[in-house]
């Protein structure tokens, strides 16, 4: 996990990655049942738990329900996820009895690439049979994208990440837009937000095309357009993200410092 995006500029006393994590954490209402991907989503979900949403129930695909890690897990099955969990169940149970059963309010996903409808590629860049880049693959994402009541995606805003066309649809967002999800019979309502290091994109109510509705402090529409691989739609009056509060920043940095110390401890 990159802790400070390589190209992220600090705006004032925080980095753009910190802003992204804080913005994403605010999407999680207290008490929400959240199926959490590793990396940025896990960071944001645990910041939410440390700040305004202590009652969130975090589910990781390794089988932990109600995980309460005091440091960020490096893998999806770290011991710290099981330690104070409400329960630890098998992988079939987490996917069948929890995710597929419709018990998950929010699926919190990262991605290698998304398109304008919030479809996700984590499989290949280029041709499937002779790929330019072979990515890790689907993991739990396709069914999280299907069954979670809503999906939030986190991804740094880059032209190679927000692309015109995906080489491969690994997980469905809003498909070809419009009523595509209903037509496919998918139970959840799909991506409701794409949080980047520049702002927040939300699907247009009609077309479901991701639209820049909020900019983080210091970011500009121009910047966002340049960092998007498609012709980005922008809301008429994009809002502005509240900068991180002192408390948010302090708790995020403490979380990361504890994580770093624990990682070094393990490796010392």
């Amino acid at each position: 996990m990159t802790t400070d995006g390589n190209t992220g500029k600090a705006a004032g006393s925080y980095t753009t990655d910190e802003m992204m994590t804080v913005a994403a954490s605010r999407e999680l209402a207290d008490g929400t049942v959240c199926f959490v991907g590793i990396g940025l989503p896990s960071e944001a979900a645990n910041l939410a738990r440390a700040t305004h949403a202590p009652g969130c129930v975090l589910i990781y695909e390794s089988g932990t329900v109600g995980a309460k890690p005091d440091v960020l897990p490096l893998s999806i099955g770290d011991g710290v996820l099981a330690e104070h969990a409400d329960s630890v169940v098998s992988v079939p149970e987490i996917f069948n009895y929890w995710l597929q059963a419709g018990r998950v309010d929010v699926g919190f996903l990262g991605a290698a690439q998304v398109d304008r409808f919030g479809n996700i590629n984590t499989t290949v860049v280029g041709d499937y049979d002779s790929p330019k880049v072979r990515l890790p693959g689907a993991g739990g994402a396709p069914e999280i994208a299907t069954s979670a009541k809503e999906v939030i995606i986190m991804l740094r805003h880059r032209p190679r990440a927000l692309v015109e066309e995906l080489s491969f649809i690994t997980s469905v967002g809003h498909g070809t837009g419009g009523n595509a999800r209903e037509e496919l019979g998918l139970p959840g309502k799909g991506p409701t937000a794409l949080i980047t290091d520049l702002g927040v994109l939300r699907p247009d109510p009609e077309t479901k095309e991701l639209t820049l509705v909020v900019l983080h402090p210091g970011a500009t529409v121009e910047q966002a357009r340049e960092a998007t691989g498609w012709d980005l739609k922008v809301a008429v009056n994009p809002g502005s993200t509240e900068p991180p509060t002192e408390k948010e920043l302090k708790l995020l940095r403490e979380l990361k410092a504890r994580t770093e110390a624990a990682r070094k401890g393990t490796s010392a």
Binding site: G77, S90, R134, P136, G137, P142, E143, S171, V172
Partner: protein
Amino acid sequence: MAHVADLREATAELVRDGDSVALEGFTHLIPTAAAHEIIRQGRKDLTLIRMTPDLIYDQMIGMGCARKLVFSWGGNPGVGSLHRFRDAVENDWPAPLEIEEHSHAGMANRYVAGASNLPFAVLRGYVGTDLPKVTSTIAPIKCPFTGEELMAVPALNPDVSIIHAQQADGRGNVAIWGISGIQKEAVLSARRAIVTVEEVVDELVPHPFQVVLPAVAIDAISVEPKGAHPSYADGYYDRDNSFYEAWDPIGRDREEFGAWMEEHVLGTENFGEYLESVRAKGMVTK
């Protein structure tokens, strides 16, 4: 019925060229010692099955043990790519690697079907994704009561499944606690099963979220202390995160990879010697 056996003998007896082999472990309890023994014995033409192939499958693929990989997520967790896996898929090195790719939910249910002696499992999945276009083992199925259409995936029944667990008791019952992932289903779906354990104890005592696999479901148990390194064994040792980081540059380079495997795996007799060998290079941090 489980018997305690040397891992070399158990592997020689139970893992054969051309087998479909599942070495499972979901970040926790990854059976590294067993993977190395398969590499040492030079098994070929294996169909490797695993939800989350990581370093050990990277090593087996890079050493030419595998013909095919059945999986749902292949990476170096928390670090990045599996370079040997990528080299095989992207450049057919050291040999072409056929892949059969699913989602976690699909793989998990395939093991459940296998453990249940059913030919297929049903799930809500894959719809709208490109996976059915590239993976032939996904097919629609209709509910005979509601008419609703769902997806079916065929059962997984590995010739051999291998897992690492914390403990076995004197009768050969095996205890896993903490995150137990898909291990129970991996063992119960297999025709033959090997379990490596940290230790054999007189009697199992309850641990949080413990799963006990009865002796009658297991063919051989081998004692391999620290046999899941660099992953962790809850109650025994922590995850060696720096080893995962150290693997990245080794796995990235064909020659460095070959030399490393030669020195530490092929050049040692067993996992204990291997651990000493990598420890001497400062690669084992605990």
